[in-house]
Each structure stands twice: as structure tokens, then as C-alpha cells.
Subunit: 245 residues, 6 copies
């Protein structure tokens, strides 16, 4: 009988703090803290406007090898390893899959994703495809994938091989339990041990961004408003005071 | 004068039966019946929600060779081979094009597609591009393409070469008259001789899927409901009975 | 202090004339006038329905070389070259960027694009990515990019290197001041010196297209209506007369 | 029983004339005569120094489709289509294969190539791979392939589909009977109807090339010797006279 | 201190039996026994004529993540994981590396390969590059790599992550201890449990191949000699008898 | 008349110092000094064993645009820009070309390369192809290219655009006058201002490498000999003393 490990989940305030930052600020802040690239490049937002943060359950696919993957898997669904990652799903979790960029294997279909949603799952990030997209997109999950396909998960060249193990996804190493931050810009993996620093570092900046955005949209000078120049700071303080009142 | 062959069209019940299955079930059923991959990989649904099934008219492009393709084609439109595949169009037909993955050749533009729609055509599946997309997307056709381009069909590196001949499209061999099933998951080619078996095999399953989907969306156990376990069958029978009444 | 050159802007009637043609007609007309391919292949319309024409400000990225790009750029924003191309922005301008197809560098974010819009900018064409897409897509700009990313512009492998210099973008040479015509089919670069000829050549045709489109959509014969045959011309003249009255 | 067509072979003097030119001069001359690109791009010379010219037998592979390709092919070798192209082999022939760029299918192995050599075959040009390369390279054939593999021809994703039909190989349309000119620069396809013109056009030039090469290798001025300037012509005439004596 | 596991080595007769077959026969035999593709596609023979068989030590690279890989690795070489796989090397071993296809990371240099050779290592198969190739190629090792580079192993985007764990290399799953068979056709991975069957199955055939090769090279009929026809069997028996005497 | 700038050439001792290091040591030393990647990735050594160092003349190609490149270039060879980079050639120079990775354009042929050799040129590094390879490889030049082709330089999609301007080649920014170090591992670009530091930093190490190599090749312990451990230093000193005597 297959036994797979669960993950350790991060504190709720870390998840909430990163969600508030969004993928772009998280990625650039990680970069300034020494993580050159945290963008899972390849998977693209397929449910526009969806933004999530949560710990990563991970699933690893490998090239199919027939001596290690048998037709009897369909006689006994419990042997299907990609089900097991979902058995660990808790409210707030994400699933991140190394599908090897395969465009002819639909890692999950509507039923699996419905189950994941039913368990409180937030989203999936897959370096590959899902199937049943017409229905899957309306489940309320965030979906970041390279594409979609009518094929099922082991129909062509890959097979599931590991659950909650370190994986590579879109050129990024993802450890089980890393916090995934994903929105229309794509998905970013945050090492749990760096989450506090990311939040603190990011929040130091940006308090004047709403003001600057307004001025820039009215034709204001980039040099004056972005980043906020010393010359414009009094104007900003006044704007802020007015807004508070 | 150019003469091209028409295709043999399949029985209407086969087309209807496959349309009811959709691309995902058709592809996985074909796989279980021995056709490893029937997914035309590359062309992506550009008119979301559109789902079609119908016989394939086929059009083959080849690398352009100037001794075989002359500038006089535009003096005499009847020499333009890509028009001829549309002359065969009947209500319910699809056009499948091997455009060699070329991203700089728009195989059809708005006028050609308008004509195809006017003849009752359902959709186009192209391992390449169309042009005039702003207008084409509103015609009511299904459109599965790799991309779009402002260029016309012979502007750069390819030229039409064969009509209603066997073609490769997106890594799948498509025979003229094959039944194309396409929706948001992509397009699948079904050999006519296998259509009956696909429909029969697929329909054996799936009667409990609506029930299971409902349970899974409420947080039900994947092991119990997908596939439907023996333990859950009475619950399903009861649910079915209640729905009928 | 960084000094960069401005561009010479084309006459307004040229811009208006090309905008009326759209990308598809512009590209095919240029082809007939000797410019084989003018389609900037790669950048895809991300704001559907948006159609623009305007002169190109250009920005060139190069592979990052640490001896030529220092961490102090963030201490002094004026050293950030990608800001300088925007300093030249006037109402009606486009920005075209050779981002080397890099999928892990977001050339502009929301604040920069807000400034560009505030200055009257129309759109950006980038052989690469932007970031902050969730907000950027609602600014009212046209956006043609290969993709989106949460990363900032110099986070990984490239750096800005030239402003308003000749660049390659999507396989097309773009000179500063070239007129960009872009819509849902993609973006096309028009040499200013050819703009008049393109407009004149294109407008000779197409006056019967509305008539033909109507007939084709009703199931009319392609041979009769596209291109308009001599046989159908009286029918067209009658249609035209009826429409005028 | 499988019947495939033979090709029409060109006159021996055309083959000899093109062989004398070599691939580079043939390709550039074809370009000047209107054939933009005749270079079969992808297949690379694997037997350095080998140079050939001869008519093309063609073999077309298609994506494998299990309903059209059965395991019984190995029970009855006569059903193996890739054998049939070799049955047509005569002294001086080449075989050109559209193997779809597949890197996991060895189109021919040592035994098939030995047979081809035994029949007088000159070389193979394959947009894909051969196997048994350690032995094949010593047969005395010219071999232009994308790579080598231990796999056999139908082991993975493709199957032979047509013999002596028009094919695309390395981005070039090759007609059965076209003359292939191949050497260390790669392979070029020459339409038979253009062979005479190519030879005549190419031979007009180049009589001074040996002289110029000698001068350039001694540090002579490119402007004076390549192409031969009027100023250097007397020097060349003298050189030529001296060589004759 | 880093501890990594050794592998279980196969019986010597299995290794010898597979070496005698070579990569092509091993791959096709595995295919007939159910393993569709065992060709490690990408790594190419860089030392022509070298043919080896032996158990696989495996090394896994992952995308670099700066929080998990520190600059201090060079202060303490024992932290460099790619050294540890070589510590396990015994006479007759191969090293197989998943280098993620990275073309800018030289997994091993001359010194490491010299050590491996000194320990009796046979060859390396890397889905990536080595460095110091000018010296490495003369060590007497077999070298199958995608390419070469002057860069060292962690200079750009990847880092070593696992030793003697299951890896993907060139689209094939390789388990630690699998038997690698590699020659000029490339490298093949043989599951140890199948080695006996592969050897037995392969040796049933092929006893007539030398005879057939001779006949084919003299222009003999492919239908008669390959595979050996019943009609030619007496001729073969006679040939064999003659050779024995 | 076309006028192009010459380059500033580095001191001879810098060139000699870098040549002694070779590409691998140069690249890794640059990395330690802050230049992450200096490997021009793509161009591969085609003349095995050739090792060079010298200043870079640069040549930039751009996508062909017919309004900027006319057929009359062949009427007047002086308009061919790729000749002009060679006019600057002095003994010890290299030519580095951004050919945009184009595989169907032969940047230089035998005659041009003969001239370059006649002028004392050392080698060419091209992110693309040359032609006439059968003759070019015997000229005595180092040749690093992506491939070879029979096509000439402007036959298909690109045209020369700039001489001795900054270029990107194989993912590396190359400034005119940078010192190129190239051997069987590939080509590396060294900023002139860093050359002294590279040489000094590299020469601090490596004096014990010959000793260690010898020990490792005899089966010595990697931990003891590479890098040289304190424990092995006396052994090394003794070895060195013995060699001197």
C-alpha cells in the first residue's frame, strides 16, 4: 500500500502577508534578498484575476518506464500516485507539479480538481497540462498551467513518481511546504524560512505608490513621482492627509 | 484546371455520438482501444466554449518552392489551392490544415472563413495561424490554431500543396474524412472505422459521474466516489432514484 | 548624465491612414511592395480589441554584463536606461522593445506603464514580458508581449542598453520612428518612407469587400464574390446604389 | 502487395555538372535563379569529405497511428514500407527521407544501408536519424542526418507512409527525381528542369577564383582580388599564362 | 557531513552480455520486451568508437536556489555534492547525470574525470556538458554529453542535489544501478531485472547476419538475405560450413 | 562610401596571459570576479585542438529589410558590409559575429576567410554558420560556429548591419576590442579592463595541478589531491623537487 508524507504548513500570518504582496513584489523582494529567480516560468494564469497564496503539496512526474508502471493501475485506482498528493489536501493548500513540460499529458481532470476544491484547495501550478478545462475553469480554483489537453495523465510519455518530494517546476526548485504566491503575473515559490524577511522588506516601501500612480496617470513626471522624489514628498504628505480626513 | 477530390462523410449518428463525448473522453477512449495519442497538439481553442464534431477536409502546406508556385496565382485566384479545399465544404464539415507550424503565414482570412461559415462549416484546426482574427472570432466558427498573424497564406515560407490528402497536424496523422472532435481541451482525430467502438466503450462508464462530482465538490472522499466504489453504490442508486422522481 | 535621442515623428495623416488599414492589410500590402515580412512575430495581443498606429520609440536590451551594469542603478534611478525611453513619450507614441525573447524579465511594470499612458502613449510591443499585468491590462494601453512575469526588468539575464536605436524585435528590424500598426493580429513595422505608397496601394482594393462578405455569409459562391468577379459586378453596383439611398 | 513507383532519373551530364559545382555554388546559383532556399537544413554531414550528386528516391514518414501500422509488419517484412524505397535503388541514387525531425527513430540500420551500398547507392539525407552508426559510417556512403540513435525506425512515434512522393525535408520541398548535391556544407535539392541553367550560370564565374585565392592567402587586398577587379585582371591573365606553360 | 548511498552492482555476466549486444540491439530488444524507449536522447558520443557497459551511479542537478547553495561550498570542497558521486566509483562503473539539459554548466572537468578514470570508471552520460574537453577526451573514458562549455558546474543556473537517486536523463528514467550500454549510437538504460531476458531474446537472432551482410554488400537481394529467407537458408548453411573448415 | 571604425587593441601581454589560461580557467575566474557568464553559448569548435586569444572585431546582422538592403549590393561589392569588418583585420585579430543564430546564412565563405587568414587573422566566432566548410577548415583558422550551410550570407533572412559595434553573441554581450579566448571548450569574452585581474587571480592557483592529475590518474584519493590537501602538500613538494632535479 502506498504511503506518502504530508507537508509542514506555514503560519497563517506568513501566508496572508505574502498574499497581500502579490507575485511581482514577492519575486523582486526575494531577488533583493539573494534568490535570483523564483518565478516558475512556463505555467500561465488560465483563470484571470485569481490570486492565491498557500503551501505547496508537490507531485513529481518522470519519463514513463513500463517495468515500473503497469496497466493494472487502472484496475486498482489506489496505485495511481497522482491521487495520493490530493489525499493530503487541506484548506488553503496548493498543488505544484513537475510534469516535465509535457504537452500531451493532462495531469488532473475535472473530477480530481473538483475533489481538490471540495477539500479547500486553492490552486494548481503545473509545468504541463490539465484536461477537462471547460469545466475545470469554473471550479473556483486558480489554475497555472502550460496548456490544456484532452489526454489523461499517463496516456503518453510520463508517469507520476513522487509525492511531497523536492521538485523542479518551471526552472525553480520547489520544496514541499514552500509558500506559493500566484496571480496574473504567474507563480512564485517562497522558502518558508525567508517569508518573514520578504514581508518585512517589501512593506518598507510602497506606501506612496497609490499617490504616485494617481499623479503619473495624470501626466506627472516619472522623475518626480517614481520613485517618490524628495521634492514631491510634501505634496504626497498633503495628499495623504487629505485622504485620511 | 485544378481538380481535387471530395471526402466520404461519416454517418450522422457517429458524429453526434462523438460530439456528446467531447475531446477528453474521446482521446482517453481511443487510447484504451490502442491509439496512443490522438490529440492534435499545438492548435489551441481561440473561441472559448465552442465544441464541435465533424468530418475533416484536409489541406497540406509544403515549404515554398518558387519554381512550383508563381506570382501569377494572384492574377488567377482559381490557382490558389487553399480555396479549393473550401469548395468541398458542406454543412457540418471541419477543415484541418498542416501548416507546418509556421507562425508567419495566415492560412485563411476573414473572407475565406466567412465563406466557409456560409457553407455550414463548423470549425478549422490549423497547425499554424489565421489572419483577420478580430473579425474571424465572431463568425461563429470554432477556431483551433497555434496563433494569429497579419500575414497572408503564402507571404513567407510555405505554400498550399494538397487537398484532401493524408496530412500530419500537430503530431497526429489525419486522413481525409476522419472525424474531428474539438473543444476547449483541443482537437482529436477519430478514424471513422473506430467511431462506433469509441462511442460504445465510452458510454459504458460515466453514468455515475454527475453524482460523484456533486459529492466531491462537497468535500467527499476521492476513494469513495471516484471511481465510484462498491461502498458508495447504494448511496448513488438512492441519489439517482431521487433525481428521477 | 544619460542623454538619449528623440525620434522624428511621421505626419498625422500617414498614421491615420495606416490605422484605418489595420495590421493584416498593412502587412500584405508591404509584401506586395517588396517587404517580405513585417510581422513582429512573438508578441501577442493581450488586450483584445485594441488597435493602434503610431511612431516607435525603441529600447534595446542586451545580455547582462556585470561590469557594465551595477547595483547602484537602484540607488540612482536616473541610471536606469529603460526609464529614458519613456521620457521621450508624446501623445500617440508606441514603445517597441527588443527584450531578446527573455521570459524571466518584466520590462515595464504598472508604474512605468501608468506614466507612459499619462503621457498619451498608445501601446507597447515587447519581444519579452511585462509585470503587474493584472493592473496593466486595465490602463487603456495596447499591450503586445510574449508573456508576463512577476520579475523586474534586470532581475535575471538582460539589461537595457540603447534608446531610440535600430533594434530587432520578433524577427523584424525596427528603426526609431517607424510606424507601428498593431491589433488582434499582431504588430507590423512600416518604414516611414513607404507609408504613403502602402496607403495608396491598399485603398485601390477592398471597396467591394463589405458586399462580398455579406454574400459569402449567406452561402454565396467564393468564385463569384471573392475576389469580386466581373459577373457579380452589376449585382454589387446595385447593392451599393441601394445602400446609398 | 505493396507497389511503389520508381523515379525518372536525370541525364548523367546534369548530375556530373552539379557534382562539379558542389553544394555552396549550387545553392547560391539557385538563389540567383529565383529559388530562395534549397538547403535541406538540419541533416549534417557525418562522413567528412564525402561529396555526392544524384537523383532522389524519397521516403515519407508520418506520425504513427496504430490502426494503420500493425505489429504484424515484423512477421512479414515485405509490409515494411521503408524497405520498398530501397528496392528502387540504382547505381548513383540517393535516398531522401522526411523523418519529421524525430530523434528517437533510426530510419535505416547497417543491413539496410549495406544493401543500398551494394546496389550502388551514393548517400542518404535524413531529417532524422540512422542507427548502427559505428558500422554505417565505414560503408562508403555519404550520410547527412540530424543525429544517430540505437532505436529502430518504428520504435517510437513515426512510421513510413509513402515512397517516391513529394516530401518536405529540412524545410525544403523535395520531388522524387530531384538532383541532390551534398557535401560538407550540407545537402541541396535541385529541380531537374533547372539543372542546365544552374550549371551554365555557375560556370560563367569562378575561372579566376584559384588565382584570387592564392593572392588572398598571401595577404592580397580583398578589394583587388575578390571579386577580381579590372585593375588585377592583367595580373591574373599573366598568372594564367604562366600556369599553362 | 554528507553521506550518500552506494548502488547495488549487477552480475558481471549480465554486463558482459549486454556489452556484446551494443546499444542498438539492446534498445530494440527492450522495445520488443515492452520498454518503448530506453534511448537517453540528447547526450551524443564525443569519443568515437568507444563502447561500454556498466552500472549507473546517478547524480541529480536541480535549478539553483541560493538559500540552499552557498558560496562556502568552495571553502569546503567536501560540501560539493558532485564529488560524492565519484567517491562511490568502482572499476566498471558509469556516471549518469541529470544536468537538466543546461548548456552553460560543465558538470565535471579534467581533474574530476581523471580521478574517475583512476578509479576504473568507464564513462559518463550527461544530459548537459563537461568542461576541459581538450584534455578530457584523451583520458580513455567514454563521454556522452550534449555539449561542452568552459563554465564550471555551479557557475550559472543549476546545482547538484542528489546522489544515487532515481533521475531523468535525456527523457529516460534511470534508476541507480541500472546497466548503461553506450556506443556511437548513444546510451541506453537497462533495468537490471530485465538484463537476462534482453540477452536471451537478442541472441536468438542474428547468427546469420554476417552472411547476409556479405551478400548485401555484393548487391544481393534484400528480400532474400534480410531477414534471411527460407530460400537462402541452404546457401547460408553452406557458407557457414565453409567458414568453419 | 561606407566608413567603419577600427578597434583599440589590447596589450600583447594580456592576450598572451589569457591564452595561457585557456577558456575554462578564464571563464571560471571571470565568474569569481563577478561576471556570471562569459561563455558564448552556441558556437562550437569545428577545428579540434585549435586554441586562440585575440581582440574582437565585431559584425552585427539584423533581420533583412528589403528597403535597406538592395540587389545592387552585388553590383558593387563595396556595399557589402561584411567585407568591411575584414578590412580592419590585423595579425592576431578575431572576428565575432552576431548572426542571430540563423542556420541558413553562411556569413563567410572560403575566399573571405582566406583573405582574413592572409591578413593574420586567428579565428571566427559566429552565432550562426559559415559556408565552403570543406576548404575553410584547412585554412589554419580557429572556427567556432553553430553550423555550416551552402547558403551565402544574405541569401535568406538576415543582412549585415553594423561593424565594430557592441553585439550579442551566444547570449554574451561582446564589445569591440574585448579579448576572445577560445578553444575546444568554446569561446569566452573578456572585458579588456578585467584582463589583468583575471590573469593574476587565475595564476595564484593551479601550480599543484600537474602533480594532482598524476596522482588521480593512478587512483589517488580525490579528497587528498584535489584540491591539494594540507596532508598531501609535503608529498607534492617532494614531487616538485624531484622534477626540478
Amino acid at each position: 500500500m502506498i504511503q506518502t508524507q504530508d507537508i509542514k504548513r506555514p503560519a497563517a500570518n506568513l501566508v496572508a502577508g505574502l498574499k497581500a504582496l502579490g507575485a511581482a513584489t514577492t519575486s523582486s523582494t526575494l531577488s533583493k534578498l539573494g534568490i535570483g529567480n523564483s518565478h516558475i516560468c512556463g505555467p500561465v494564469a488560465r483563470v484571470p484575476g485569481k490570486a492565491i497564496a498557500g503551501p505547496a503539496l508537490t507531485l513529481q512526474f518522470m519519463p514513463k518506464r513500463e517495468d515500473l508502471y503497469g496497466a493494472d493501475e487502472y484496475a486498482d485506482p489506489e496505485k495511481q500516485l497522482h491521487r495520493h498528493v490530493l489525499y493530503h489536501a487541506q484548506a488553503g493548500d496548493d498543488v505544484v507539479v513537475d510534469a516535465r513540460g509535457d504537452m500531451k499529458s493532462g495531469i488532473f481532470g475535472e473530477m480530481m480538481l473538483t475533489y481538490f476544491k471540495g477539500r479547500g484547495g486553492l490552486g494548481v501550478v503545473i509545468d504541463g497540462c490539465i484536461r477537462d478545462f471547460a469545466n475545470a475553469r469554473d471550479l473556483g480554483l486558480g489554475i497555472w498551467v502550460n496548456g490544456v489537453t484532452p489526454n489523461y495523465h499517463v496516456q503518453t510519455d510520463v508517469m507520476p513518481f513522487g509525492v511531497n518530494v523536492p521538485i523542479a517546476c518551471g526552472g525553480v526548485l520547489v520544496m514541499p511546504g514552500d509558500i506559493i504566491v500566484a496571480d496574473d503575473d504567474g507563480a512564485v515559490a517562497v522558502p518558508v524560512a525567508m517569508a518573514t524577511r520578504v514581508i518585512e522588506h517589501a512593506n518598507k516601501h510602497h506606501d506612496w505608490e497609490d499617490f504616485s500612480r494617481e499623479r503619473l496617470s495624470e501626466g506627472g513626471d516619472l522623475r518626480r513621482y517614481y520613485p517618490l522624489s524628495d521634492a514631491a514628498r510634501p505634496e504626497y504628505e498633503e495628499w495623504k492627509a487629505r485622504r485620511r480626513s
